[in-house]
């Protein structure tokens, strides 16, 4: 059956099971918008800025595990997606971004609203396409979803010239995508796995270092099973929050720059590290030459480029972490070696417990000023730890990671790799669209929230009931903290004198606004805000002097922590 490119686009999305597209129309995509108008299967949500649209697709993907979809026009529409693409690329999030393009004959002519988005997005996508003929469109759409969601996931961009959308072709959506240059390795090499287990069992001070790969691979169950079988202590990265239950006695919490004392000490004194789905980022390792000096390292990752990149690894295993963890479980579960191992590592667990006891995550409570950590604790208490938490970037992000005990995967949505301010609100909206029944909270700062505050309009228009809690310290807190510690307290350009009035702003958008200014008001204001219908913005006036601890200064080793 002959169809226009625009019709093929909409039908292909419907046939691939896409239920929602986050986007913004324009001249180059107007034919698609006409086709969408006539289609009932694919719902489109109109954002207020293309960056917001990509983060929504990203939040949708992180919360649900399904591929997020975004549709924007050419030129500025396309360039506005770049930060969102880079965010998803750094955190390996499956999204497909479709951009309109000027007609094929005008490409390269500096036409109106033309940008070489394939060139611009090349280094921040897993792959990208320029569709040259209408007959290729359905196949390319199929391939783009396949590439985005398999192997190490990531964003894919598809650029579609206007004439390709207008011309007609037969609609043929391939059943399978097949790319001879793309064959991810899912199965870990059995003998490598066996050597890894042998090494692990031969040591006395083990730690599991688990990253976002556990969540992407839906391997939390396997991680818990392996940890349980061998009583292995587990620390997670920021991206791995929720991959291992925070309340498990074997959980050490987060490691790295703002990690827990116990996690950083355990890594630094361990004699074997099992790294799974993590990539030894500089915020995790601190000074690389001082990272885990006594440890042999086993590294499991689906992406071979992550292995041997930042640290030398003793046993590399390329494969899906779920497959490799299953193989490891099979080798140890119920075996007498496992019992012996649990016995000989008991002293090590005792040592870790004493580190955790002497320096737990903490802060100094205050009678007069609201401490941001207290707010996060109250959110945890009120939501019984069951909310999906999105964060912005900076202090709010670190406190949200430290003081909300994540029990489940896909409940902590944060821009870990790129550190994108303005991520949280649109990501929360996307997550809420994917998970309509859940409570979704964006823990924000007064700086970050203003980078995509316009998406409140989207939330109001579509009645997406996200709750935004602003930890409002009237400053760009994380930069201020560095200025306080390392630049003699010269608060250069980090003061935001509580502008705007967020409650009034929420009301102007048609959302509900609440405010807390004293510690004793916090529980009640949160309760009211979370109970209210529709999108809510809660402005909590916090202590501007509060800092995120522990802190490993940039370039220092992990044991050199500044503590409360």
């Amino acid at each position: 059956m002959q169809m226009t490119g625009a019709e093929i686009f909409v039908k292909a999305l419907a046939d691939l099971g896409v239920d929602v597209v986050f986007g913004y129309p324009g001249g180059a995509t107007i034919n698609i918008y006409d086709a969408l108008f006539k289609n009932v299967k694919v719902r489109h949500m109109l954002c207020r800025h293309e960056q917001g649209a990509v983060h929504m697709a990203d939040g949708y993907a992180r919360a649900s595990g399904r591929t997020g979809v975004c549709l924007v026009t050419s030129g500025p529409g396309a360039t506005n997606t770049v930060t969102g693409l880079a965010t998803a690329y750094m955190d390996s999030i499956p999204i497909v971004v479709f951009t309109g393009q000027v007609p094929t004959l005008l490409i390269g002519n500096d036409a109106f609203q033309e940008a070489d988005i394939v060139g611009i997005s090349r280094p921040c996508t897993k792959h990208n396409y320029l569709v040259k003929e209408t007959k290729d469109l359905a196949r390319i759409i199929k391939e783009s979803f396949y590439i985005a969601s398999t192997g190490r996931p990531g964003p894919v961009l598809v650029d579609m010239p206007k004439d390709v959308l207008i011309a007609s072709a037969r609609y043929e959506l391939p059943k399978e995508a097949s790319l001879r240059g793309y064959r991810p390795t899912y199965e870990g090499h059995q003998r490598q796995v066996e050597s890894a287990v042998r090494l692990l069992l031969s040591r006395e001070r083990p730690v599991v270092y688990a990253g976002g790969g556990i969540i992407l691979s839906n391997a939390s169950g396997e991680l818990a099973e392996l940890s349980g079988a061998l009583s292995l202590p587990v620390t997670t990265t920021l991206m791995g929050m929720g991959a291992f239950p925070g309340s498990d006695p074997l959980s050490l919490g987060m490691l790295g720059m703002h990690g827990t004392y116990a996690a950083n000490m355990a890594i630094s004194h361990s004699d074997v590290i099992l790294a799974v789905g993590a990539r030894f980022d500089d915020r995790v390792t601190g000074k690389v030459s001082e990272f885990a000096p006594h440890a042999k390292i086993i590294h499991v990752d689906i992406d071979p480029t992550s292995i041997q990149k930042n640290v030398r690894v003793d046993i590399p295993i390329v494969g899906d972490v779920k497959d490799v963890l299953r193989k490891m479980i099979k080798l140890v579960k119920g075996k007498k070696e496992a019992t012996a191992f649990r016995g000989k590592t008991a002293a090590w667990r005792g040592q870790i417990a004493s580190w955790a006891k002497t320096h737990p995550l903490t802060y100094k409570p205050s009678k007069g000023k609201i401490k941001p950590q207290y707010v996060v604790e109250q959110i945890h208490k009120l939501t019984k730890g069951k909310a999906i938490i999105a964060t912005e970037v900076g202090q709010n992000q670190m406190w949200a990671a430290q003081f909300y005990n994540y029990e489940q995967p896909r409940t902590f949505l944060s821009s870990g790799g790129l550190g994108t301010m303005g991520y949280g609100l649109p990501a929360a909206i996307g997550a809420q669209v994917a998970m309509p029944g859940r409570l979704v909270v964006d823990i924000a700062g007064d700086g970050s929230i203003q980078m995509n505050i316009q998406e409140l309009a989207t939330a109001v228009q579509y009645r997406v009931p996200v709750k935004v809690v602003i930890l409002n310290n009237g400053s760009l807190g994380m930069v201020r903290q560095w200025q306080e510690l390392f630049f003699d307290g010269n608060y250069s350009q980090t003061c935001l004198p509580r502008i705007p009035d967020f409650v009034k702003l929420a009301e102007a958008y048609g959302a509900k606004g609440f405010r807390a200014t004293k510690p004793e008001e916090v529980p009640e204001v949160l309760r009211k805000g979370f109970a209210a219908d529709g999108p809510v913005l809660i402005d909590v006036i916090t202590d501007p002097g509060e800092m995120v601890y522990p802190m490993v200064p940039a370039g220092a080793g992990l044991t050199e922590m500044l503590l409360v």
């Binding site: 060139g119 240059g181 793309y182 071979p304």
Partner: protein, 158 residues
Amino acid sequence: MRHTISVLVENEFGVLSRVSGLFSGRGFNIESLCVAETMDAQVSRMTIVTSGNDQIIEQILKQLNKLIPVLKVIDFTGVDTVDRELVLVKVNADGDGKQEVLRLVDIFRARIVDVAPRCYTIEMTGGEGKVLAFLQMLRPMGIREIVRTGKIAVSRGM
């Protein structure tokens, strides 16, 4: 250490920018890069000469493999290969120098492909050492311009 890497890629739009962008974006070196179609018109071969320590070379090979249009990556280090480069050189040729240039062309089995009143254009192919030696010998004559293709390589035997 220098490495010669042979990369088979899909012969498609934008593949060169993916490869070159990978090198520039990650701070890897390209000393030379040659690309042309293979026997199969849908596949091109890139021959890249690069340098770096073992860890960097490992990353280069892995990152190249990760690109979707890349079909195969071969590091020729430690492999018995034949490698060649084509050089076109414009060199001064007047007075006594003329004879010396002709002698060098003969010794190096090069060819004169263009003649002007005071200048010869010479075509020469050879391995890295031969090219270097030839250019060194010509230098005192006064080289006006050098155009090099960069190295191509193929493994010996079957």
